[in-house]
Symmetry: C2
Subunit: 386 residues, 2 copies
């Protein structure tokens, strides 16, 4: 198989994009990525998206977006894996280029969540849970995560406010990211006073929905120098899954999909935990940050909150997390999020992050995108090319 490289990246700010349509939003990110690479065309387009059918009455986004960027005719499909859709689209682009059957591919994640009522969006997001066994009994997606958080606190004796440092860290970084939805810092007191959404999850534990699109252009590593963009090597992009319904898991506090996906990615990339210079974790809810760190092997079971301090997760810490604000601060346009993470990881490797956010010369970074409460997990490991 061929080694694969990222030669172009693009994104739109995450916000409420009421002035442009879904296709135009995606097109902006695709054209930014192609422009970054100096590419005029590509062989294939993989669109990550979760809710365009339910919220925008539009399927077949592949053909739609290909036309909108002036590339009607090329291979183009949509990939869906709930909130993991964008990184799953990235995985397909990598497979296509690795196979030798495609010589260049754009993966774009796009989502518009703010045009419909909150109720419609909440309904849409619940389709990431098990429709027959969770949604049917009235559990919203937040409620499912609230059950996890409550159980975690009960099992390991943590207090609610022990989760705050993850959120404070994310907002502190988002404040310097011009593409982030929230550019305000928060403190412990604000966290303590935040309105409860689904007890014990409060508003600041929850990543905000938003509209946005992010894209990368991937090519065979051997062709990468033909493009303008600074080259990033895709050392691994691997998928692991788990049951969707929590009650089908042996231990709901152990994300097997995360464990599997991480193990595969580490094996493919030939790296160990200590090699990872920063981690774009899927902080959809602060409980998911904690559970991910544990199932990835960065923390002992039940002990991830011990890492919730600046020496561990801050920009100068041992394992910087959510360096551009994460889902919490940058925003979580669900089917686009995985590619925001990959674009941000690539930006850090290039040394192109805003000064206040740039990690000191990272060599190897990890991004993990999750669909459902750990049901579909895509782990990407990117490296700076020597």
């Amino acid at each position: 198989m061929r080694e694969v490289a990222i030669v172009g990246i693009g994104q739109t700010p995450v916000e409420e994009h009421w002035d442009i349509s879904l296709r135009e939003l995606a097109a902006k990110a695709v054209l930014n990525a192609m422009d970054d690479a100096g590419a005029e065309d590509v062989d294939a387009l993989y669109v990550g998206n979760m809710l365009s059918g339910i919220l925008t009455n539009q399927e077949n986004l592949g053909a739609l977006i290909a036309e909108c960027v002036g590339l009607s005719g090329i291979e183009a499909v949509k990939i869906e894996a709930a909130c993991g859709s964008a990184a799953a689209a990235f995985r397909q682009a990598v497979l296509g280029v690795a196979s030798g059957m495609i010589d260049s591919a754009v993966a774009v994640g796009v989502e518009k969540l703010t045009e419909m009522s909150g109720r419609a969006t909440t309904h849409g997001l619940a389709t990431a849970s098990d429709g027959d066994y969770e949604m049917a009994i009235g559990l919203s997606f937040v409620a499912i995560n609230a059950l996890l958080m409550r159980r975690y606190m009960h099992e390991y004796g943590w207090e609610k406010n022990d989760f705050a440092p993850f959120v404070i860290n994310a907002h502190r970084n988002a404040a310097h990211n011009p593409n982030a939805m929230f550019q305000n810092q928060i403190n412990q007191e604000q966290y303590n006073l935040a309105k409860v959404v689904a007890d014990p999850i409060n508003l600041l534990d929850s990543s905000p929905i938003g509209d946005g699109a992010a894209a990368v252009l991937v090519v065979p590593a051997e062709d990468a120098d033909k493009y303008d963009g600074q080259v990033i090597t895709v050392a691994a992009c691997e998928i692991g899954t788990d049951t969707i319904a929590l009650d089908n898991r042996e231990d709901p506090l152990w994300l097997k999909g995360v464990e599997r996906s991480t193990a595969k990615a580490f094996r493919t990339a030939g790296v160990r935990h200590q090699d990872i210079d920063l981690f774009e974790v899927h902080d959809a809810f602060s409980i998911i940050t904690a559970l991910s760190l544990e199932a990835c092997g960065f923390a002992e079971k039940g002990q991830a909150l011990r890492m919730a301090n600046d020496e561990s997760i801050g920009l100068k810490g041992k394992l910087p997390l959510t360096t551009m604000g994460g889902l919490k601060g940058r925003g979580h346009p669900v089917g686009a999020t995985g590619l925001y993470q990959i674009v941000e990881a690539a930006t850090q490797l290039r040394g192109d992050a805003p000064d206040a956010l740039q990690i000191d010369a990272p060599n190897c970074v990890m991004a993990q995108n999750i669909g459902g409460s750990g049901a579909n997990v895509i782990t990407s490991i990117l490296k700076r090319r020597d």
Copy 2:
């Protein structure tokens, strides 16, 4: 890249499956395909589906179905390209195995369309059209195809009943396919009297919606002999696209996506028109059969209806069409259809079709699955292994 082979096939009958859920329906086809190959596990699962989010409140089908077949943990995603979703999932499975990163993959197409009201289903199907420029002005998907059919009759001087032989042929074959939804033959008089759905399209021009699932197991050709199933070579599986909205096309009567997809597939497989022993055409509406034959190069522009006779399209004709009943007779569970076509094509190559339907020793067969009115076209060419 590695050559890819099909070693297992599975399907459920197309009908109104009110007694089992979406996941169980898909699981039946997956397990049938694995059983056919004698495989106990696979590396990856690609699910083709269009409307599970809108009609069944369920996304993330990859993880859901992987669990349901006892393979929770494996790589699994959903691929969507409207009515072309299943063959697009097959394409991803082929890319994955060709890349060397995946050693075995099941592609399954699944759809349940009959549980909701006809109105909900009509709304869902319309998301295959352009939401902003077609659906928004009230065009249903049938109405879009009716515009095409009317224009074709006007432009080339054909009468409505000239389309009948395509439909009669499909039903004649479906009558012998135990998995077909309609097992009744029809005649010209019935066609002439059929109720109009969207003038000039009548009920017998339209393929019926239905529930169903079909699956194949693909592996590297070099490993194929380790499996039980009779081996079929995947000579090509290629995607071409076009605009979704008809008004954006230079000539609405010329399906550029079909032309592109077919040309790519012929090039990849190294075959010409005369090499194709049978063609599973995407006969969603009889006008689409005609336009496809022309854009594929099997008929001159405006002249496909000249082929609509037994010497051309019958089981002993020059280019047998819809040999198991096609979308019209077997039924059209939209996101599953492409894999029904591939399973049927493989069945013919194996010599395992019902006696009344078996083509005499075919060597090279073609299946074409279309999403939208020609917006996303996936052409597969399968060969018997020598």
